[in-house]
Amino acid sequence: MSNEHSHAGNPASPPEDSAAGVMTKCVACSRELRSAVVCDYCHTLNPIGAPTDYFALLGVPRLFNLDADELRRRYLELSRHAHPDFFTGGSEESQVLAMTISSSLNDAYRTLSDPFERAEYLEELLGGPSSAVDKTTPQGFLDEMMVLQEELTEARLAGDHLALERHGETLRARLAQMMARVAELFADFESQLGCEGIRLECLGRIRRQLNAVSYIRRLVSMTAGT
């Protein structure tokens, strides 16, 4: 047995052309769909047309800068109409559809509600390089980390919980700072409307920043013990 990788939750190859905001119509009432799967007006479940990205599923703009409360409100509202609990008396077909749609909404929310996961997802969706392809980090980052990682390993071996906790705190602050930078880079990208070359350069910068964030996240989990 052998198997190829296809990450749960990530579309194998993000579609280039599916622009933000799906303009398809509800199968039941023909009004425009905001979420690709649940009609805002008649609450009918619409089959998932492939390919549909997470932003389209939840019917939110394809932006990094999403309001967490608004995203959650949206997710809960859609779940109120799509959850299998409300279809137990329905046909087999409607039960399967509810399970499929609910599963997708859950996947979408899990990914988009975490800023790092959202950034990774959006980066690939916009056609940026994946972490498997481009493993580089911003200049000077690795040198700086080398020292820190040594200190962490030492603290772990010595069982120095105080030191680990102190490092954890510093790293979490650093993480927040770095994610703020990610937000800036995405805003940069969004303002570069015309030139494809500059846009690709932006995505490259985001990639390097995300690789660094991913590194810091691993270090944070090191400070948490286990």
């Binding site: 299998p84 609990d85 399970m99 609910s102």
Partner: protein
């Protein structure tokens, strides 16, 4: 939709007690007997073909310890290796079954934990039918949140064996949250601490205008009130042996009596500062001892510390801080223990909330979920999570995670597989559950064999396997070969569980082995089945009666007459026998019809071909 006959019973199938509840316009209501008691002890006595359940079974446990079965929940979805810890405390015999399962040997029979649980479920159902005066065929059954896939499936199978259509398996802590009606809150983060007879769970939830979203859950399916009882049993037996000689061994009856003493002492120590135990060992030897609460707490503390560790992990996994948790709900009889309350209060920095009887709250919550599923309660929705990660075995005995723990259900993941040999038509997948990196450290959930892959050169097929976890937290696997578009068949060999065929067979045999005969159900079910059989025979006779030989026709007529007579009587066993006899007598008729069908299809095909 809310038809009178459509009532869905909420059932808390507990380690020590089970309860039923149903949903009404005024909220969930517990099923109680004439004395107002809602709890059915999860105890079964089987002797000489007679089955008794609940208080009656519990009362005679000391007299017949070998034929009294309790704590069955600890055996659900488990193999012999998993229950070693339990074995030394359970007086009844446990042997190994198929696919790493266990069987309980009692009254000359080997019964699965599923069948035994079915007996308890049937008792709860029977009581509900009596109280409500109507037949009940649908249920929501609760399980510990930390139950794995095999344990959930075992519970669902138990429901089927009891003749129930199990509409949903719900996690106990989440059910409790539903019962508390915290939906009236605009938005809040709450914790549910659930210490039952044999399991411990903690769940962190976010409640938002009626939507209950579980953020994380953690627990231990080998930790419960039973363990605290055992601490007391150990204390008493050690002292008895040191007082009256270490050679003194305890027979099953004495052990059962000690168990009762321990349970009573534990309960007394929640209200009082000390309790006195007296055990008459015969021959003038009397062991007498006063156990203080402090002594008990010293022994209970390591167990309670473990629950607090789980709380810490659940809070971390939920991504919240302890300060953000606004309410802590207590569930399970053991949360009456003062030490438990103190420990929970100290950790959460908040006085625990206990407005609803901790023994009843789970069943009430199951009834609320039943109301949601029946469409009568549309204001609430439960978004629960899968407690353990799901993965598949990859090269070198490692586990590739597909679905992470604490993912909201339903959820799905897919993975593409291919073949490694030219012309290979099947692929094996080993699915595991757990958090560790290696196969040997995770729990095997089962092996899935995908067959019907079109023969192609090695590496060419693209078999997309979809792992779908439903709202019950139960996994379903399906597969499609993408190049040919052909669906592959999936054969499952469960680890720690029953195959679909085994359950089907047990459902049939349950009539013969009287698993469901504690109530009038059996007779009703058999009569319904009789009507179906009689109608089928009549139809066949009209269609193909001419193929029967005179002797065969005579035998069939006689069997049908006997069956009609038996159906009018009250003897279920006689009816069962008459039904089997009629089935046998109708065999030549069935055979002839089958042949006719086959011939027709064959003819049809020929016409097509030419």
């Amino acid at each position: 939709m809310a038809d009178e006959n459509d009532i869905i019973l909420g059932i808390d199938l507990g380690t020590t007690n089970s309860l039923g509840a149903y949903f009404t316009a005024g909220g969930p209501k517990l099923i109680r007997d004439e004395t107002g008691n809602g709890m059915v002890p999860s105890v079964i006595a089987l002797a000489e073909g007679k089955v008794s359940v609940g208080s009656e079974a519990k009362r005679q446990a000391v007299l017949n310890p070998l034929t009294t079965v309790y704590s069955v929940k600890r055996l659900m979805g488990r193999g012999l290796a998993d229950v070693q810890q339990e074995l030394r405390f359970l007086p009844y015999h446990i042997v190994e079954g198929n696919h790493e399962t266990v069987r309980v040997e009692v009254d000359g029979r080997l019964l699965t934990p599923q069948e035994l649980s079915a007996i308890i479920l049937n008792e709860v159902r029977g009581r509900a039918e009596q109280a409500l005066g109507r037949k009940i065929t649908q249920a929501v059954i609760t399980v510990p949140a930390y139950f794995d896939d095999a344990q959930r499936q075992a519970t669902r199978d138990a429901g089927r064996l009891a003749g129930l259509d199990v509409k949903r398996i719900v996690n106990e802590p989440t059910a409790a949250a539903l019962a508390y009606g915290l939906d009236r809150k605009e938005s809040a983060t709450i914790a549910v601490y659930d210490l039952g007879g044999g399991t411990f769970d903690v769940s962190i939830l976010r409640v938002d205008k009626g939507v209950f979203q579980v953020l994380s859950t953690h627990g231990d399916t080998h930790l419960g009130g039973d363990d605290l009882d055992r601490e007391l049993i150990d204390l008493i037996t050690t002292e008895i042996q040191s007082q009256f000689g270490s050679h003194l061994s305890f027979g099953p009856s004495t052990r059962q009596a000690l168990r009762d003493f321990a349970e009573m002492t534990k309960i007394r120590l929640s209200a009082e500062l000390s309790a006195t135990v007296e055990v008459d060992l015969g021959e003038g030897r009397v062991y007498r001892r006063t156990i203080t609460r402090e002594e008990f707490e010293r022994r209970a503390k390591p167990w309670i510390d473990r629950t607090i560790d789980a709380c810490r992990q659940a809070v971390t996994a939920a991504g919240v801080s302890v300060e953000e948790i606004e309410q802590v709900v207590m569930v399970g009889g053991c949360t009456r223990i003062p030490l438990v309350r103190r420990a929970v209060e100290e950790f959460f920095q908040r006085e625990p909330y206990t407005a609803i009887n901790p023994d009843e709250v789970v069943a009430l919550g199951a009834a609320v979920q039943a109301g949601i599923l029946a469409g009568v309660q549309r204001q609430m929705l439960l978004l629960d999570v899968i407690p353990l990660s799901l993965g598949i075995e990859t090269l070198g005995g490692a586990v590739g995670k597909l679905i992470m723990r604490n993912s909201t259900v339903p959820c799905r993941a897919s993975e593409v597989f291919t073949t490694s040999i030219d012309g290979q038509t099947s692929v094996d997948i080993h699915v595991l559950q757990g958090e560790r990196e290696l196969v040997i450290d995770c729990r095997s959930l089962g092996r899935f064999r995908l067959t019907g892959v079109p023969p192609m050169p090695a590496g060419l097929p693209r078999i997309r396997v979809t792992f779908q976890v439903d709202a019950n937290g139960i996994l379903h696997v399906s597969a499609v070969e993408e190049r040919s578009g052909r669906a592959a068949a999936v054969q499952i060999t469960p680890s720690h569980g029953l195959t679909g065929e085994e359950v089907d067979r047990m459902v049939k045999e349950s009539w013969k082995y009287a698993i469901t005969d504690m109530t009038a159900h059996r007779l009703i079910d058999l009569r319904n089945e009789t009507q179906r059989i009689l109608a089928a025979i009549e139809k066949s006779l009209a269609r193909a009666g001419s193929v029967l030989l005179p002797a065969q026709k005579q035998a069939l007529d006689a069997a049908v007459a006997a069956l009609r007579a038996a159906a009018a009587g009250e003897d279920a066993d006689a009816l069962w026998n008459a039904m089997s006899a009629a089935n046998d007598a109708a065999m030549p008729l069935t055979q002839a019809q089958m042949d006719a069908v086959l011939e027709q299809t064959a003819r049809g095909r020929k016409v097509d071909e030419f």
